[in-house]
């Protein structure tokens, strides 16, 4: 070893026993990685590689209209993934998001049809979403039912409710309404409203998680719920709040679905979304155990999934392969996470 003695910075005046002090002297590269996060960085790299691969096969991929297609394609998924991120940060899970979205879609269209007011239809849908979320939370918190089981049950039950009220078929016609049309086709400053709604919700939740005490406490509860309890945090309030927020966000996704398709959709467009949503959040770096993850990671993962889906489409790959790709992605994302945690491979994982 012939490294000169000058390697520690001369400004470093920490005592020699201060081992951690050495970490303040980081190279630019490692500072950059620390700032962006290894998870986000690998997502960006994956995104670039994927885009380059698809673009090299079909130059149309990079065209503005195709970008817009990708954006509009992921907007509903993205909105749901942002809500799911909050749930998963707390250490929970919501499998019923697709059913909630379907319920809100039908409710918004039916109420609009009977009342003639799009805004009223949307408001009722949002209230229904909040109630659906509240029911999830009450089952989990006071019924002491594991979140996966609870929302698996409501996943089926809410789907049943939608099919009951809609008779299993599309409801109403919203294509002629200005507000719904604005949501589906409008643009603000050249950006489609659909994408804008996704970005605004992501920005709001990001702000909540990063800059407010609510967000901080969500990370603390997900990171160590005993410590959070002993610190006097009202954990139940946060869990209930998060599931209700998820319900409201799912309702917004349902409204966007109604706007896009021009009618209330009980199943089409929302069925199977839960898998994509959970894949996106896990891929974005959210720990299934809670306490770890970010909205930026989730948004990047949503874009990555959108690009993948779009790529497979424009390259003419059989759509069944997309399901396989989706499932594979979820498994890979979680395997990577667990590897990083360094858990031993014995019995069932926790």
């Amino acid at each position: 070893m012939t490294i000169s003695t000058g390697s520690p910075s001369p400004t470093q005046i920490a005592p020699p026993e201060d081992k951690s002090g050495a970490k303040s002297e980081l190279s630019f590269a490692s500072k950059f990685v620390a700032r962006v996060g290894a998870q986000n960085l690998s997502l960006i790299v994956a995104l670039i590689v994927l885009a380059a691969a698809i673009g090299s096969q079909n130059a149309n991929f990079f065209s503005l209209p195709n970008m817009q297609v990708i954006g509009e394609g992921v907007a509903i998924l993205g909105v749901l993934a942002v809500g799911q991120t909050v749930i998963m940060l707390l250490g929970g899970l919501d499998i019923s998001v697709g059913s909630q979205a379907g319920l809100a879609s039908v409710v918004s269209a039916m109420v609009f049809t009977s009342s003639g007011s799009a805004i009223f239809g949307m408001a009722v849908a949002i209230v229904v979403g909040a109630v659906a979320g509240l029911v999830n939370a009450l089952i989990i918190v006071y019924g002491r039912v594991n979140a996966v089981i609870a929302t698996l049950a409501t996943f089926a039950a809410y789907r049943g409710v939608v099919n009951l009220v809609s008779n299993g078929s599309a409801q109403g016609y919203t294509g002629g309404d200005d507000v719904f049309t604005f949501l589906s086709l409008g643009k603000v400053a050249g950006i489609p409203v659909l994408i804008l709604v996704f970005l605004v919700i992501a920005a709001l939740v990001y702000t909540m998680l990063t800059f407010t005490d609510i967000g901080r406490n969500i990370y603390a509860i997900g990171g160590n719920k005993v410590a959070a309890r002993l610190s006097g945090l009202r954990i139940n309030k946060y869990v209930i709040g998060a599931y209700m927020l998820m319900g409201v966000i799912a309702a917004i996704a349902g409204i966007l679905l109604t706007a896009r398709t021009g009618s209330g959709q009980p199943t089409s467009g929302s069925q199977g979304l839960e898998l994509q949503v959970i894949t996106a959040v896990a891929l974005g770096g959210c720990a299934l155990q809670g306490g770890k993850g970010s909205i930026i990671g989730t948004v990047l993962a949503v874009i990555l999934l959108g690009v993948l889906t779009n790529g497979l489409q424009i390259l003419g790959v059989n759509s069944f392969w997309q399901d396989i790709a989706q499932g594979t992605m979820l498994v890979i994302a979680v395997v990577i996470q667990q590897r990083r945690r360094g858990t031993r491979a014995v019995g069932l994982p926790d």
Binding site: S20, G21, T212, D213, G232
Partner: protein
Amino acid sequence: MNSTQHRDAEQPEQNSHGDASPVLQMRGITKSFGPIRALSGVDLDVRAGEVLAVMGENGAGKSTILKILSGEHAPSSGSINLEGEDRTFSSPFEAKAAGIRVIYQEPEILDDVSVAENVFIGSIPRHARFVSRHEVIAETQAVIDRLGFSSAISPTTLGSNLSPAQRQLVEILRALKDDSVAVIAFDEPTSSLSEHEVEALFAFIARLRASGTAVIYVSHRMKEIAEIADRVAVLRDGQSVFASLMSDTDESEMVRNMVGRDVFGAFDRDHTEAGEVVLEVKELTTADVSNISFHVRAGEVVAFSGLVGAGRTELAKALAGDAEILSGTISIAGEVKKLRSPIDAVRAGIGLAPEERKTEALVMTRSIKENISLVVLNSLTRARFVRRGLESGLVADYMKRLRVRAGSMDQEVKTLSGGNQQKVVVARWLARKPKVLILDEPTRGVDVGAKADIYRIIGELAAEGIAVVVISNELIEVIGLADRILVMRGGEIVGEVARADATEQNVLTLAISDSLDLPTNSGNVALEGTS
């Protein structure tokens, strides 16, 4: 290194004379866990047909030596000689095959299956893959009869219906179901047994002894040891410090050898005049502690001493609002507080730095800053937005004051050493300006330098008028820090020692002595004779 072993040829019955050479010789056993040395050069001999009592303070290394014997831990150095052959056990399975059994304090019992299946767990007799329920029960009954427990347990009882004594019995049946046992060790077997169950256990141990098995008996209870042991070995700070025939020693000599640890840190602090009573606990009873009454004045450090399991941590949890209070009151500055949850305790001005730092206090994946500001965060916000400048200033102040050594306040707490992590937990509560601060094992897993820091901090907090409660297993720490020492045993306070009178010997005697035994303490054996 010897190569092949043939355990089947080695029947314990061969060693039936007490004065034969030792069946088990452990020599120079050293074990380090990272930087912490749990054992340094422990020697232990057990002969066939004798009961060796192993004694020592909390943390003296008793459990570690048992775990090395049972193959659960590999020793860092040293040798184990069993029946004349040097052995190394790389797994509990190997130790078991060699004829070593360790009966732990809290056996693992499956609640939903029968005693028989619990006994034969992992080795249920089967034909192809089919298990005969009859056969398992019959074989278990045979083991029960052979060991003389026919009246105490039935092979068909479900695990969840077993009493603590029966659970221990299941563990014994498991250990002795195949008969090639050379050495059997009991780790504080009587802690959950009633008096006549203890007698039954002792009768059983006497039979083991008579059959020529070497028995190691780990316990704190003087009277039991006087009754059952032939020889005694004392561990202190991971070293063998004393060994003697029981007939050649007495209680005070044993206790004297258990105490007397080296004093390293300085405990000097100004013991200022204590102020008003801040914390007053009256006849507090929870599921784990009963009839607890004490008070702590402003500026006072009150330490709780006692053995592991005496109920100190459970008391701390109750004071932090994390246990259901069945009766009794807790008052802060003269005002009775109803503590239904930790929220109430935090509001009342009680802070707890729990024993399990990593699992109960710290959010390991978050930064030092977020961990320190956790309980005061809502006072640092404007319209729910955290005022980052205010927060950073506050965190920096406390990090400086408590000398938290870290690159930056944004570093994840999991990257910190144990001592610095503990300082983060203390800083969290100081930021809240508590009236009462409870520190449960504040120096556990903390290096010597940081220990001295924590002692200094405790002194400063008291000087500022905080009522400080310290729970510690280290006698020297308790004596050095406290103005008063309360000793707990079996969920109750059994004595108080003032600073001036405190010696390791009298505190430890209170913690382990059976002479002051209370009616609820179930392990009392009616045997007089030791002082």
